[in-house]
Structures are given as structure tokens and as C-alpha cells.
């Protein structure tokens, strides 16, 4: 029996978001609404020093004066910031000494997510920091890392234990008044990950954070700060899921990366927040600010696979301040049904001999809208800056849209910039060719999409690449027809 596209479509329609379960864990959740008291209470709850409380309040007062930006190519009902609870934590005793103490319900959740902490610990050697409803619940492998002097913990612990480091770097790459959502995050962030790699250390394992929104009616505002000191190297992974809910949930994170001289940071994301149902109801609003600062001879590389979220709005950027620094951005953004994505990057060349590469692959299916928006800026003093950008879009069906908004600004005559973009679809001839060779439609699409996004998938660490590949297949199966 031939596997028809109709059948495939049907199967796909039944394909549910497999991470859409909720976990029955008692949580302590703040009343909804946002005011100065809430900001103070968050700070107090976390026993933060005064400078941090003041920092938050400053951000909050700036946020109050800001307006929600509207320039992006997405439409959504603006979140009501007074209808969100800004703090939700799994109700447990303060801190776990070992995994055995962790609530078994919680561990089950992670099992379902496919990230059994135990297993990970043994097999893959990935150190994980898990953030659930904006509170860090477990960090693995701390001691192993500590031997090398690597600090990997939740940001609230870092504020207490390493205030000097946090004070020195937090808000340096993304100022607290940077934009509407960054300001909101700076005021109310509840937790996140902190990572410091000392001079000359090559981090022996992949570091990883897993984010999950569990509680209904909460927003997730986590903050990640990664500092790679001179000559060090770190590869950092980030993954996210959320339960299926009818209302839209807000996720407004801030990620700051700092690569000092000769350091290298590789930051990979597989974003799989709940995208809403087939009718476009529910789903996560993913409004994230991510930016990295490169000092001399350093390198920051962003890799992202975006398959989830109802609305995605994020631009992982590199500020190439140091001479000879390198910025890279590899992205696959997949939208299906009513999903909308407006994503891309900013490469700000300031130092001499700086290089940047942008590879962006957008795949739109269903009734979704997928936009690439990027900026390449070559400053006046950025001699011999080099940029290569490539944005390809793949359209499946004629109810979706693919858009590109590349901004290119060159202020130095020695700059060399290339930009290419193409839009295409999966050709019937391509599928026919595969069919001839005994590959069914479903597999053929997977094959073609994989080939289309190969350049980006190759950049992902092994464990992620497999997951990402699977995600791509799930998100897109049967979209052609």
C-alpha cells in the first residue's frame, strides 16, 4: 500500500506536542500583577544583597516608561503584564544536596522530557542546570567542574557566592534598559544559569540548561550569564519545553555572553516551547534578548534550532569589539500551523580584522509566517571587516510566508560584505526522484529538509544534532501537499 499524502496529513494532525504534559508539583506562586513590591519580594525571596535589589528597581522604573515595541513582522495579542505571576517555584526545601533528595515527581518530569539526570550524568557527561518555572532545581556535575575552577550554578547562587563576578559583568552586554523585554527581565528575573570558565581552561564537558514552564499563568524570566576568561573554551547548550495550555505564556529571557581575549564560546539552543494547537490557540511567546561581547581574538558562535513557540522574536547578536574577533550565527527556524517567527542576528563589527558568518535557514509550512531580520554593521574604525550572510527560505504550501529584512551598514571602505538570499520550495521533481528510488514521501521530505539545513545541523553538538533532526521531522512531516 502506498503511503499517500492524505494519510500523512491525517497522521500529522494527530501528532500532538509530546511535551504538553503538566507536572503535579506543588508550587509557590506569587499573586499576579507587577509593581515595585513584587520586584522587592522577588529580590527578598532570593535573599539578594541590596545592590541587586536596587539594580532590579532601577530596571523596573525604566521599564515602566518604555513602550512595547511594534516593529516586528508578527501579530499577536499583547500580553497583559498585570495578569502574569512573576514568580513561581516548585515548593520544596531550599536546596538539594544530592539528586536523591529531589522530588520524585520532578525527576519523572525530566524523564518524560528525555533528560534523565541520572542517565545523562553517567552516559553523556553533560552537566545540566535545570530551570523549572524560573527556578533552578538541579545542577549536576558541579564538583567535577569545580576541580578545573569552573563555576556552574544558578544565577541566584552566583549572586550570593560570587557577587564580584556577577556585579562586574551583569548588564554589561545587555544594559538593563536595552529594550522593553530586557528591562522587564532585569526587574523580575527569578533565576537562571551562571557560568565562569577561568583563564586557559578548556571546559571538559558540554554545559547545559533545561528550561521548563510548568505552572499556569506564569511568565518565565530567566537570566543566563556566561563568562569565558582569557584563553578558555566552553560549549553551552540550552533546551526548553512547556505544557500545552490554551492561554499564551510569556517567556522573556536574557542571555549574556562574554568572551575575553582568546576565549571561545559556543552557545547552542534547541527551542521547543509549546507552539499552540492547530488552530493557533495558546502557545508560548518567546521574546528573548541574547547578545555576546567578543574581546581580542575571541570567538562567539550561536547555533539555534527554533521549532516551538507561538511567536518567536529573538536576535542572538555578537558585538565584535576586540581585534580579530569572530562572530558566527547558524540558525534553523521552522514554523508550522499558525506559528510566527521573526528571528535573525546582529553582527556589530567594531574591532579590526573582525569576521562574521551568518547562515540562516527558514522553513515555513501551514499558515505560518517566518521572517529573517538581521543587521551587519561595520563601524568606522573596523578595518578589514569581513561578513558573509546567507539566508535561505523553504516554503511548503501557499498559505505560509517567508520574509527577509537584512540591514547592511558599512561605514568603512575596507569592508567586504556578501549577502545572499533565496526562496524556494520542495520540488515535485525532487520528491519524484526519491520515490523512484523507493523512498516514500515522508522520508523524502525529511531527507530534503535535512539537506537544506545540513550546514546548521553540522554545527550542533552531537547529542543535540540528533534531537534537532528528530524535531525537524516531527514539526514538518506531511507539510507538503
Amino acid at each position: 500500500m502506498a503511503y499517500t499524502e492524505e494519510e500523512l496529513k491525517k497522521e500529522l494532525e494527530q501528532q500532538e506536542y509530546q511535551y504538553g504534559f503538566t507536572t503535579k508539583i506543588e508550587s509557590e506562586t506569587f499573586p499576579v500583577g507587577l509593581n515595585e513590591d513584587i520586584v522587592r519580594s522577588i529580590s527578598k525571596k532570593k535573599n539578594e544583597p541590596k545592590w541587586m535589589t536596587d539594580w532590579r528597581l532601577d530596571a523596573f522604573s525604566a521599564w515602566k516608561k518604555m513602550e512595547e515595541p511594534e516593529w516586528s513582522n508578527v501579530t499577536y495579542k499583547k500580553p497583559d503584564f498585570q495578569a502574569i505571576s512573576y514568580f513561581s517555584a516548585p515548593k520544596t526545601n531550599t536546596k538539594y544536596k544530592s539528586l536523591d533528595e529531589v522530588d520524585p515527581e520532578l525527576l519523572k518530569t525530566f524523564d518524560k522530557l528525555g533528560i534523565s539526570i541520572e542517565e545523562q550524568k553517567k552516559l553523556s557527561g553533560v552537566a545540566v542546570d535545570i530551570v523549572m518555572d524560573s527556578v533552578s532545581v538541579a545542577t549536576t556535575f558541579r564538583e567535577t567542574l569545580a576541580k578545573d575552577g569552573i563555576i556552574f550554578c544558578s544565577i541566584s547562587e552566583a549572586i550570593k557566592d560570587y557577587p564580584d563576578l556577577v556585579k562586574k559583568y551583569i548588564g554589561k552586554v545587555i544594559p538593563k534598559k536595552d529594550n522593553f523585554y530586557a528591562a522587564l527581565n532585569s526587574a523580575v528575573f527569578s533565576d537562571g544559569s551562571f557560568c565562569y570558565i577561568p583563564k586557559g581552561v578548556k571546559c571538559p564537558m558540554e554545559l547545559s540548561t533545561y528550561f521548563r514552564i510548568n505552572q499556569a499563568g506564569t511568565g518565565q524570566f530567566e537570566r543566563t550569564l556566561v563568562i569565558a576568561d582569557e584563553g578558555s573554551y566552553v560549549s553551552y547548550l540550552e533546551g526548553c519545553t512547556a505544557p500545552s495550555r490554551d492561554e499564551n505564556q510569556l517567556h522573556a529571557a536574557v542571555v549574556e555572553l562574554i568572551a575575553l581575549d582568546n576565549a571561545e564560546i559556543k552557545y547552542s539552543t534547541v527551542q521547543n516551547w509549546y507552539p499552540g494547537n492547530k488552530q493557533g490557540k495558546g502557545g508560548v511567546f518567546n521574546f528573548v534578548t541574547k547578545r555576546g561581547l567578543c574581546h581580542n581574538n575571541s570567538k562567539i558562535s550561536w547555533t539555534q534550532v527554533e521549532t516551538g513557540s507561538a511567536v518567536t522574536w529573538k536576535y542572538p547578536s555578537c558585538i565584535l569589539k576586540g581585534d580579530n574577533s569572530i562572530g558566527e550565527f547558524y540558525s534553523i527556524a521552522v514554523t508550522n500551523n499558525y506559528q510566527q517567527a521573526d528571528t535573525g542576528t546582529k553582527m556589530i563589527h567594531l574591532g579590526k580584522n573582525t569576521k562574521s558568518t551568518i547562515i540562516s535557514k527558514g522553513i515555513s509550512a501551514g499558515k505560518s509566517q517566518n521572517s529573517y531580520r538581521g543587521l551587519v554593521h561595520i563601524g568606522k574604525r573596523a578595518e578589514n571587516a569581513r561578513n558573509f550572510s546567507q539566508c535561505d527560505s523553504l516554503l511548503m504550501g501557499n498559505n505560509c510566508g517567508a520574509h527577509t529584512f537584512p540591514y547592511i551598514e558599512a561605514k568603512n571602505k575596507s569592508a567586504q560584505i556578501e549577502h545572499e538570499a533565496t526562496t524556494s520550495k520542495i520540488g515535485e521533481d525532487q520528491i519524484f526522484y526519491c520515490n523512484q528510488r523507493g523512498i516514500n514521501v515522508e522520508k523524502a521530505i525529511a531527507l530534503i529538509v535535512n539537506g537544506f539545513s545540513k550546514e546548521v545541523l553540522n554545527k550542533l553538538p552531537m547529542e543535540f544534532a540528533v534531537e534537532a533532526q528528530k524535531l525537524l521531522e516531527i514539526s514538518l512531516e506531511g507539510s507538503v501537499g
Partner: protein, 450 residues
């Protein structure tokens, strides 16, 4: 009083001179009302992000002209194509100059807009075409619609292939300070007709590439021109714009081209100077099998600034568009390219191509470019490419090893870089004229006949 308020209040005085019972008057009053609402764009406006238009919106600007300026032919003869027969419509400071013009009503209407706008005989044509495809929210288009009453009117009847090209020449005498000009052209190509049109803007040149009449407190003229072009079924239009102006005069040019089934329209824009030059070129494809070609060469020096905004709206299947813009920027000049291609859901089998190449030569020159695609149909071939860079070092070296001096080698390569945009220019005289301007601009003596 701000310039906006001043212009709005000028409308009352302007009205006195016009027939307030004509349908054109309704269009004008509606436009000025809308302009009052919209106002001038500021830097926060995405479409004006890279062009500091405020710089040229001097409060002293006025739409009222004081007197007619006579110019000797010797001073302007280079502004004409020369060497071939052509229809000519010449304007000096926005006023029609019958002396140097040669118009016709035989076979085709090639005349001035003012004689048509309020003439009963043309009322059908005017109501069918006038102000029908103009963006009703764009500040400068609104302003032009409010105040314009003069410009070229071209109507080529069914199946006529025009025997000679048309030259539309706008000359700024520079004899008057703070003049804001609002020329307006209406061009109609009926079914199956064919025409070639060259539109150029010049100012009288004095010392140091500034107006010969400049005196202390002199405010340079600002031209806000609008051209509406209707290309009917199977018609074929070649449109050329030459902007080779002073370092001090500024132009805002809005061109709207509406194409019907099986038509071909091309527009070449040659921008060789001006204080601030802004080109909004809009192509609307209203039918199947349409081909649109947009090409441009920009060569700037000193503090000049040129901004090209193009829009190609593919609303129907089986159409093509082809864009190629090249820029060479010397000294402190700045260039902007913002190309937008929209492909509607129904517009399948579209082939859209967009290319923008830039050479940064001057130490303080800069380029901002944004090639934009908005695609809603899946069975399309759309691509764009954009580069910013320098001359190929190995090519330069190759030429030098053959005994060509560095300066000449650079000139040759630069010339070659710009040259291929001229491929589609069918009018030989024009091609040579442009080539000469380019060679002159980049200071290369070509050792071969053009």
C-alpha cells in the same frame, strides 16, 4: 511657523489661482488634508531611517515663484541628448519653456499637463488615470498632488510605436532662493504601444559645482517630483532618469508604474549627484506575464547622498522582475539601497531577482542597504544578492603588470563594474552620453571608442 504649517496655509493662496470647481481641486484638497495629518517623515520612520531629509526641509522654502528667469541656450545645450531627433518638453524652474520644447498632438499626445488637466476634452482620461496609483499616505506624494499643476503629459495611442524618443528636461536656473518645485508627469501607454522616455534634472552650474547665483543666505531649491506611468496590455516602455545635479540641490522623486497584462517596463536611474537624492520607484503588476526591469548606477562624491527605495509588487502569476543597482561612493558620500519585493499568495511562478553591488572608495564613504523579500507564494524563484567591497586586488595587479598605471587600472575596473548595467539601454546616443559621464566621474580616459 514650521514648513509643514507654512505649506498647509499656502494652499489657500494657491487655490486662488486654480479652478475650484474642477475634479482636480477635490483631489488637491483631499491630499493637503491628508498631508496635514501625516506631516513630514522623521528618522524614526523606517522608510527614512538612513536619509536625513530634515536637513533639506528648510522653513524658508516656498512653492511660490517670483519671476521667470531667462537662460541662454549655450549654458544648457549639454543637457539635451543631441545627435538625434526627439520630442522635447522643457521646464525652467518648474515652468514650461516653449522656446526649446517640441511637442505634438499628432498621432500621440506629447505636451504639458496643465493644458490637459482642466480641459474638458481630456476629462475622461484624467479621471481614469490621474492620481490613481499614488500612495495616499506618503508625505511627499501628497504634497506633490496638492500643489502640482505642471509637468509632462504623454499619451501614446493603441498600437503606436513612437518614432522618436521623448526628452523631459527640468532645469533649475538657481536664480531664486528657497524654491520648492512640484513637477508632475503623467504618462500613458495604450495597448500595444511603445515609447522611450528620458527624464533629466539639471541645475545651472557655477563655480565649485554650486549654483552660479548663490549669495549669502541663499537657500537651494528642493524638487519634489512625481511621475505616474500607466503601461497597458502588451505595451512596452523604456524610461531613463538622469540625475546629475549640483552638490547643493536636492530631489525627492516618486515614480509609480502600473503594468497590465503582457507588458514590459524598464526604468534606469542614473544618479550622479545632488545634495540629497531620494528615489521611490514603485512597480505594480496588475496582470499576467508582466516583466519589470529596474536598473541603476550611482556614482557619488563629496558629501552627496542618494537613497534608492524600490518596490515591486507581484500580484499576479507568471511575472518577472529584475533589479540591478550598482553604487560607487567616493569622498564622504553615502548611499542607501532599500529594495522590496512582495509576492502575493496568488502570484505563483514568479521569477524575481534583485542585486545590489557597492564599491566603497572614499575613506569616509558609507553604504546602508536592505534588500527585502516578502513572499507569500510557494512556487516562486526569488533571490537577492548584495555585496559591499573593493576592487579585486589580483585584477588590479594583473593590469599593472601590463604597464597600466594604478590610477588607470582602478579607473578601468571601476568603469567595468558599472558598465554592465548599461547593457539594456537601447538608445545608442544615451548610452554614449552616460558612458562619458561615468568615465568623467571616475576620472578614467578610456583608450577606446565608445
Amino acid at each position: 511657523m514650521s514648513l509643514k504649517e507654512k505649506l498647509v496655509s499656502s494652499f489657500l493662496a494657491f487655490e486662488l489661482d486654480t479652478d475650484i470647481n474642477s475634479p482636480i481641486h477635490d483631489i488637491r484638497s483631499k491630499s493637503i488634508k491628508e498631508f496635514e495629518k501625516v506631516g513630514f517623515p522623521d528618522k524614526k520612520n523606517e522608510f527614512w531611517k538612513y536619509t536625513p531629509i530634515k536637513k533639506v526641509l528648510n522653513e524658508e522654502l516656498t512653492i511660490f515663484k517670483k519671476k521667470r528667469h531667462l537662460i541662454e541656450f549655450d549654458k544648457v545645450k549639454d543637457f539635451f541628448l543631441g545627435g538625434i531627433e526627439s520630442y522635447k518638453i522643457v521646464f525652467i524652474d518648474g515652468m514650461y519653456d516653449p522656446l526649446w520644447s517640441s511637442t505634438t498632438h499628432k498621432g500621440a499626445d506629447i505636451c504639458i499637463l496643465s493644458s490637459v488637466l482642466e480641459n474638458k476634452k481630456y476629462s475622461n482620461v484624467i479621471s481614469k488615470y490621474y492620481n490613481t496609483i499614488v500612495d495616499s499616505k506618503e508625505s511627499f506624494s501628497l504634497l506633490n498632488t496638492s500643489f502640482s499643476k505642471e509637468g509632462a503629459y504623454v499619451n501614446i495611442p493603441k498600437n503606436i510605436e513612437l518614432d522618436k524618443p521623448i526628452e523631459i528636461i527640468h532645469i533649475n536656473s538657481g536664480g531664486e532662493s528657497s524654491l520648492m518645485l512640484q513637477p508632475r508627469n503623467l504618462i500613458i501607454l495604450e495597448k500595444g504601444s511603445k515609447a522611450q522616455i528620458v527624464e533629466s534634472h539639471y541645475s545651472l552650474i557655477g563655480k565649485n559645482n554650486i549654483s552660479p547665483y548663490t549669495f549669502p543666505g541663499y537657500i537651494d531649491p528642493l524638487t519634489n517630483t512625481l511621475t505616474e506611468i500607466h503601461v497597458e496590455e502588451n505595451a512596452n516602455l523604456d524610461y531613463y532618469k538622469i540625475q546629475n545635479d549640483l552638490d547643493t540641490t536636492s530631489i525627492i522623486d516618486n515614480t509609480y508604474i502600473n503594468q497590465k497584462k503582457n507588458s514590459v517596463a524598464s526604468c534606469h536611474t542614473f544618479s550622479f549627484g545632488g545634495n540629497i537624492v531620494r528615489n521611490n520607484l514603485n512597480f505594480y503588476q496588475n496582470g499576467k506575464n508582466i516583466n519589470s526591469i529596474l536598473k541603476g548606477i550611482t556614482i557619488l562624491g563629496s558629501n552627496q547622498h542618494t537613497d534608492h527605495h524600490t518596490l515591486v509588487h507581484h500580484a499576479n502569476p507568471n511575472c518577472e522582475s529584475y533589479q540591478e543597482y550598482k553604487g560607487i561612493y567616493n569622498d564622504k558620500s553615502t548611499g542607501v539601497f532599500n529594495g522590496k519585493v512582495i509576492v502575493d499568495r496568488v502570484a505563483q511562478k514568479i521569477n524575481a531577482f534583485q542585486q545590489n553591488n557597492n564599491l566603497l572608495v572614499g575613506d569616509h564613504s558609507s553604504v546602508n542597504t536592505k534588500p527585502q523579500l516578502e513572499i507569500f507564494a510557494d512556487d516562486v524563484k526569488c533571490s537577492h544578492g548584495c555585496t559591499i567591497g573593493q576592487l579585486d586586488k589580483s585584477a588590479l595587479f594583473y593590469l599593472k603588470t601590463r604597464g597600466i598605471t594604478e590610477k588607470d587600472a582602478k579607473g578601468l575596473l571601476t568603469y567595468a563594474f558599472a558598465n554592465n548595467v548599461l547593457e539594456n539601454v537601447k538608445m545608442q546616443v544615451l548610452k554614449i552620453k552616460i558612458k562619458k559621464i561615468i568615465a568623467n566621474k571616475i576620472g578614467v580616459s578610456l583608450g577606446f571608442e565608445l
